[in-house]
């Protein structure tokens, strides 16, 4: 046993390796992105025979993992909540077919929306697909539940969902990790038996498979009860049901305020541990339900109570005790516990807490592109193209997509009108045209997003004779989630050389023109794109320049620029139009921090005084 402090996501990676995982797939997405890099590091260091890939999208990731599990291997697939929507088709279908090895699908939700998506409650998928779901409360719990997920998945031939939330995935805690090696892999050689009636849908007795699935779910409850899950701790007539990170807030409150409550930690909201819940109901006069996001446990509890016809006060979201939107924290939980216990629970506020802190004192750091980011240049170019075409910025629709490119919606560029889902930029742009948009429409998306979900809508737009310009901002990496490789990078998840798939060749195969530009060659790019936007049909531009942060790590960046103090009138045009973090105002003077400047030279194009030049030597 090795005691260590690790991220929740790293705990899941270590538990997967300790469970002898053979195949790992995933698509980067906050807050799950750290699982595969952590796992890869160990695989490389220990030379483990584990196959890992960053797949092109979540559905493909799950398909790959499913095949491995059908062949008797242990497989893990990781994705964020939005990605599970992409993979849901396979998930729901495969639930009927079952698995032979183990298949664990790790998904993370994000109450509080730190990761830039919705507060989607992925527990619903367990009910929809009729699959078991284990819900982790902290990193040590995530480790324990991952181990159990692999074990029960193989035992019951059933895919198992493992869920965490941002406050679990992105929290570091102490785990007692087991050695990942040597893991017994004997008896798990590749073996996929041809069984058409099981592995095709058309030939299967689907109703019978459905019945079998329900039987497996029943046995899941027993299997995990034997492992001590869904634990009830009896201490008095006030009951609390909690799951996920809410469980840790409850523990903190029990410890801090010496609370006497009968508590039930729900590890598996689905299948619902009816028997254990009934024991709680028999004990309690009132029950508080602590769960972030949707009132799932609360409604399941109400159903159990109704079946038992025992009068009971249930406190949760539906009676207004707790909020349904936003994340919980210790204070919210302590307040709910105060209502349950009738005690005033909470830490005394500092005596000066009433003093209002002036807004002007609070730190404000605007979200913007990094210094030297090629996306800043591309969006600047698009704004200039719109001008050059004789339109105002609010006349030409520019659709955006997921990832770093979405920052084009922020000040000062404010180029983007929309940002929805992966690849939606192109589908929406075509839709605006189909609906009769009279002015040009421009779609923008990143390279990884293009591969993920951008190709089908491009094919669709070409087929239907749309008139639009698609600009693919190709920075070679899936940058926002931490520089994972994508089909365009030429590297595998383990950092080994891989085939780099050419975006222009894919585009040209559709029979439409593809123009590659260098976004730092600003004037030429403006001229080129202006001409392209005027054309009929679907036209694709690839704005190609590597992510500057990655470039800094690799072959470095160009020599920095500087502002000539004598020439600069401090008009502020550079900051106002680009908001480059390398440009600062100190003591009333504009200057460029040479350490922060990446030498992209974009600011030269916006200075009306020609006061910016490259540092000599």
């Amino acid at each position: 046993m090795a005691r260590k402090i690790v991220l929740g996501n790293a705990a899941i990676a270590e538990a997967a390796l300790a469970s002898g995982v053979d195949v790992v797939t995933g698509y980067p997405g906050t807050p799950t992105s750290e699982v595969i890099p952590h796992l890869s590091e160990i695989i490389l260091a220990e030379k483990l025979p584990v196959y890992v890939e960053w797949s092109v999208n979540e559905k493909v990731a799950l398909d790959v993992a499913v095949a491995a599990a059908w062949a008797g291997k242990r497989a893990l697939s990781t994705m964020k909540m939005a990605g599970l929507n992409v993979a849901a088709d396979t998930l729901i279908n495969v639930a009927y077919k079952g698995v032979r090895g183990a298949l664990v699908l790790y998904v993370a939700d994000d109450p509080g929306t730190h990761a830039g998506c919705t507060e989607q409650d992925s527990r619903h998928y367990a009910f929809l697909a009729q699959l078991p779901l284990l819900d982790a409360a902290d990193p040590a719990d995530a480790y324990r539940l991952t181990r159990l997920a692999f074990q029960t998945s193989e035992q019951l031939s059933l895919p198992v969902l493992l869920r965490a939330t941002t406050n679990v995935a992105h929290t570091m805690g102490v785990i007692d990790g087991e050695p990942c090696y040597p893991v017994q892999r004997r008896g798990r050689d590749f073996h996929f038996q041809k069984r058409i009636e099981q592995y095709t849908t058309i030939e299967a007795d689907r109703s019978e498979q459905h019945r079998q699935l329900l039987v497996k779910l029943e046995s899941f409850v027993d299997a995990i009860r034997q492992q001590g899950l869904n634990r009830l701790e009896e201490r008095g007539s006030m009951g609390v049901i909690a799951s996920g990170v809410s469980w840790t807030y409850l523990q903190e409150a029990i410890y801090s305020f010496d609370l006497d409550v009968t508590s039930l930690k729900i590890d598996s909201p689905h299948p619902w541990p009816e028997e254990t819940v009934r024991r709680l109901i028999e004990h309690a006069d009132s029950i508080l339900v602590l769960e972030e996001q949707e009132p799932i446990l609360e409604r399941m509890l109400k159903r159990s109570v109704a079946d038992m016809s025992r009068p009971l006060r249930i406190m949760g979201k539906e009676d207004g005790t707790l909020p349904r939107a936003g994340e919980y924290d210790f204070e919210i939980v302590a307040e709910a516990l105060s209502k349950l216990t009738g005690r005033r629970l909470g830490f005394p506020a500092a005596s000066s807490a009433g003093a209002v802190i002036p807004q002007s004192l609070k730190p404000r750091r605007a979200l913007t592109f990094c210094s030297g980011c090629p996306h800043r240049a591309t969006y600047y170019i698009i704004n200039r193209v719109i001008q050059k075409l004789g339109y105002r910025q609010d006349e030409v629709i520019v659709t955006g997509d997921i990832g770093c490119t979405s920052l084009g919606a922020f000040r000062p560029l404010r180029t983007l009108w929309t940002e929805v889902t992966m690849g939606a930029a192109i589908g929406l742009a075509h839709g605006f045209k189909a609906a009769g948009a009279p002015k040009p429409v421009i779609a923008t998306l990143g390279d990884s997003t293009f591969f993920h979900s951008g190709i089908p809508p491009l094919v669709n737009a070409v087929q239907h004779g749309s008139d639009l310009t698609v600009i693919i901002l190709d920075n070679r990496w899936t940058a926002m989630t931490g520089f994972q490789p994508n089909p365009n990078t030429g590297l595998s998840a383990l950092g080994e050389p891989a085939k780099a798939v050419s975006i222009p060749r894919i585009v040209e195969a559709l029979g439409i023109p593809c123009t590659v530009i260098d976004p730092f060659d600003v004037q030429a790019s403006i001229d080129r794109i202006t001409e392209i936007v005027r054309r009929r049909g679907v036209n694709v531009v690839v704005s190609k320049a590597e992510c500057t942060l990655q470039k800094r790590r690799g072959d470095g960046v160009g020599t920095p620029y500087r502002i000539l103090e004598q020439t600069c009138t401090n008009c502020g045009a550079c900051l106002r139009s680009l908001a480059c973090p390398a440009i600062e105002v100190a003591d009333g003077l504009h200057r460029i921090d040479p350490a922060a400047c990446s030498g992209c030279g974009l600011c030269v194009c916006v200075c009306p005084q020609d006061a910016i030049e490259r540092v000599e030597g």
Binding site: R3, I5, T30, P31, D110, G112, T113, H114, A115, G116, D138, T166, N167, H170, T171, M172, G173, V174, V245, T248, Y249, Q251, E252, Y255, S256, D329, F330, E331, A334, F347, P348, A349, A350, S351, S352, A353, A355, I357, S360, L361, K362, P363, R365, A366, L367, T368, C370, S371, M480, L549, A579, C580, P581, E584, V585, A586, D587, D593, A595, A596
Partner: protein, 199 residues
């Protein structure tokens, strides 16, 4: 027994490294700990808060008004942490100012007086240091983070009860791949500075 340490600053100032050093020291000392550094999307040059919780702790973040120590690497970021403080919180702040990117701005123009504003807004055990100048004298640019951790350890006995200076010192050694010796010295220097400001 537990200790809640909040660390704040800006991405790139070495907050993650501090969290890593403390995490290592914790594991080596057989303690329980929870560390949460900014959840969700990180932004280069953005605000960073690390909740470092040692001992009998459960929740991922420090409950309001219960920080035992606050370590701030950028004075203005301190104002985003005031809700966690109480009258007994030991507050160690670097007078460094960083604009939106990774660069500093001199505070010579003196507006506003951040230190006075901090005292007004509940930081009672406050020590503001020009760590940039102090560490800069050593002739190497890194290490403000480790120096200030030393100051806090020297200033607040509560932290030392859970984590000894030796444990932190040896964690510095095993975590830092470069300049470990210089950082250990800065940590010691900080301890001395903190001890002389014990209050």
């Amino acid at each position: 027994m537990h200790y809640n340490l909040l660390i704040c600053g800006v991405g790139g100032q070495g907050i993650l490294t501090l969290a890593e050093i403390l995490g290592r020291a914790v594991v080596d000392s057989g303690l329980k700990a929870i560390v949460t550094v900014n959840r969700g999307l990180a932004q280069r040059g953005g605000s960073v808060q690390a909740h470092v919780r040692l001992g009998e702790v459960f929740a991922p973040r420090i409950p309001k008004y219960t920080a035992h120590g606050l370590l701030s690497l950028e004075i203005r970021e301190t104002f985003g942490c005031l809700d966690y403080l109480n009258e007994d919180t030991a507050v160690v702040v670097s007078s460094t100012r960083i604009n939106s990117g990774l660069k500093t701005e001199s505070n010579k123009d003196g507006k506003p007086n951040w230190e006075r504003e901090l005292q007004k807004h509940r930081a009672r055990r406050l020590l503001v240091l020009d760590s940039e100048a102090i560490v800069g004298e050593q002739g190497f640019s890194g290490g403000q983070n480790v120096y200030l951790l030393g100051v806090l350890c020297g200033m607040d006995g509560g932290l030392a009860e859970l984590l000894t200076a030796e444990a932190i010192s040896s964690a510095i050694d095993s975590v830092l791949k470069r300049n470990a010796r210089e950082n250990r010295e800065l940590f010691q220097q900080g301890l001395g500075q903190g001890a002389s400001n014990r209050r």
